[in-house]
Amino acid sequence: MDSEKHTSERNALEANEISAGYGEAQVLRDLSFELQEGEILSIVGPNGAGKTTLMRVLMGLIGPTNGSVRLYGDQITDLPAHERLGHGLALVSEERNLFREMSVKENLVMGSYSERGKNRGERLERVFDLFPRLEERQDQHAGTLSGGEAQMLAIGRSLMTDIRILMLDEPSLGLAPKLVPELFDKIREINDDGISIVLVEQRAQEALQLADSGCLLENGAIVHRGAAAEMLDDEDVIEKYLGGA
């Protein structure tokens, strides 16, 4: 993989003993987690393990019942979601949450809302460079995009401001399998620009191949964490998540 990678030891994002859930149902139990600056961290785990719930807690969309979240050392546990973007944290959710009635261009313009359009032209150009397809479709309603295009737009929208951490919740969901390697290449490109990445994926093998480190989330807790390459060789992990040897 990339040899000249500068993953410093500093934690970009960290969660300490998080518990969270929905009403009575507890999903995350005392979960701790950290993302190092500059790395790609892949979170894998079975359906219903709590991956999306963790993303929601980190983004501030739901509050944890216990524990804390830190961003570059600053305590952000109580910061509302709309203020987290200003601190450089962005989420591309599992549902994508695009503005379906608005054009592709308007979705991207809205991506620059928090900075009220600062460097908008430049950023738009970068997004169109990364996803030329979006430029062709810019006047189309977002609701009419294909699965892959919608994913590109969701990622592109989050790149319209100056972010430092991008969390992607199952970006390959709904994508034709042949498009997945291309998407993962783009994620690497984004990472090469200095953005730390959290990648939640069902496609554990491909995700771990891309990532620097990996986490295994099961039943609301992280049961394993290590270098991605090691996890790919780990018998246990292979058996459980990578569909046998």
Partner: protein, 290 residues
């Protein structure tokens, strides 16, 4: 029933002017419903209250222009107050739609009674005298077309606002996907508040125009609310152009009925339009498109 050219000009002219004033109420209603999911039964009150505030200020000897400005500011504050003091109490509650419908219904009753206590019956805002012209043999007070033009200007302004400003785009974004808006840095509660304020101002302006061309009564608000709900359904919920098209249609039908059939048939004719549209096109004139 024979319609003369003079009558036709009169009917169409009045219908379009009344329709564009109605559009300001309907667009305000539609905006608030789109962004907050509140079926604001008090929408028309923003028109009557604004109108009466101006009547009151003018009555105190304050000039027309400052009174109108004060009235519009009052509309904005009233809109924000309704959102902050009433609607916001129901956020996150089940049955939000029903709760806010009844709450705004209550506001309407209170507002109507306060207006009746303070102002009694029918009142008019003394419009400025800007002259008149003769059209098809009848003299037309220029205030009428001017009021229509102001209403149309406001609608164009709103359109531009929602397409080209961050605040306007944020309103559409929140209406479309609140979660998505939140994640890209939109403080949706602030947008809720502003939307109520802006919706109230649009409707407040219709109250000013209405009060100059027709007469205000404490029940004008409810009547305008009924018109606005009908228009939003006829036009297709959520469609800006559908709402405007429906406003003009309702304005024309109203004007035709009032002139040719008789005033007491007005609401009958309008509900007939509603009924016909619901049977033929349940999604409204422009339902499904924006």
């Amino acid at each position: 029933m024979v319609v003369s050219i003079e009558q036709l000009v009169f009917i169409v002219g009045n219908g379009l002017i009344f329709g564009s004033i109605l559009a300001l109420v309907a667009v305000g209603l539609s905006l608030i419903f789109g962004v907050l999911d509140v079926p604001n039964f008090a929408q028309g009150e923003f028109a009557s209250v604004t109108g009466f505030v101006i009547v009151g200020l003018v009555g105190l000897g304050i000039g027309l222009v400052p009174s109108i400005i004060a009235g519009i500011v009052f509309a904005f504050v009233a809109g924000v107050a309704v959102e902050r003091l009433v609607i916001s109490k129901f956020y996150g509650r089940d049955e939000f739609l029903l709760l806010t419908f009844f709450a705004t219904f209550g506001i309407t009753i209170i507002s109507e009674n306060v207006l009746r206590q303070m102002f009694g019956g029918f009142r008019q805002i003394p419009g400025p005298d800007i002259g008149s012209i003769v059209v098809a043999g009848t003299s037309v007070n220029l205030l009428r077309p001017a009021a229509g033009a102001i209403a149309v200007g406001m609608l164009i302004g709103l359109y531009i606002f929602t397409r080209y400003t961050y605040m306007g785009l944020a309103m559409r974004a929140v209406a479309d996907d609140r979660r998505g808006a939140e994640m890209i840095g939109v403080n949706y509660e602030r947008i809720y508040m502003l939307t109520f304020g802006i919706g109230a101002v649009l409707t407040g302006i219709s109250g000013v125009l209405y009060g100059m061309l027709f007469t205000l009564s404490p029940t004008s608000g409810v009547a305008l609310t009924a018109f606005a709900f009908t228009i939003v359904v006829v036009g297709g919920v959520g469609s800006f152009f559908g709402t405007i098209l429906a406003s003009l249609l309702i304005g024309l039908v109203d004007s035709f009925t009032a002139t040719m059939v008789g005033s007491r048939w007005r609401f009958f004719a309008i509900f007939a339009v509603l009924f016909i549209v619901l049977v033929l096109r349940p999604e409204g004139l422009r339902g499904g498109s924006t």
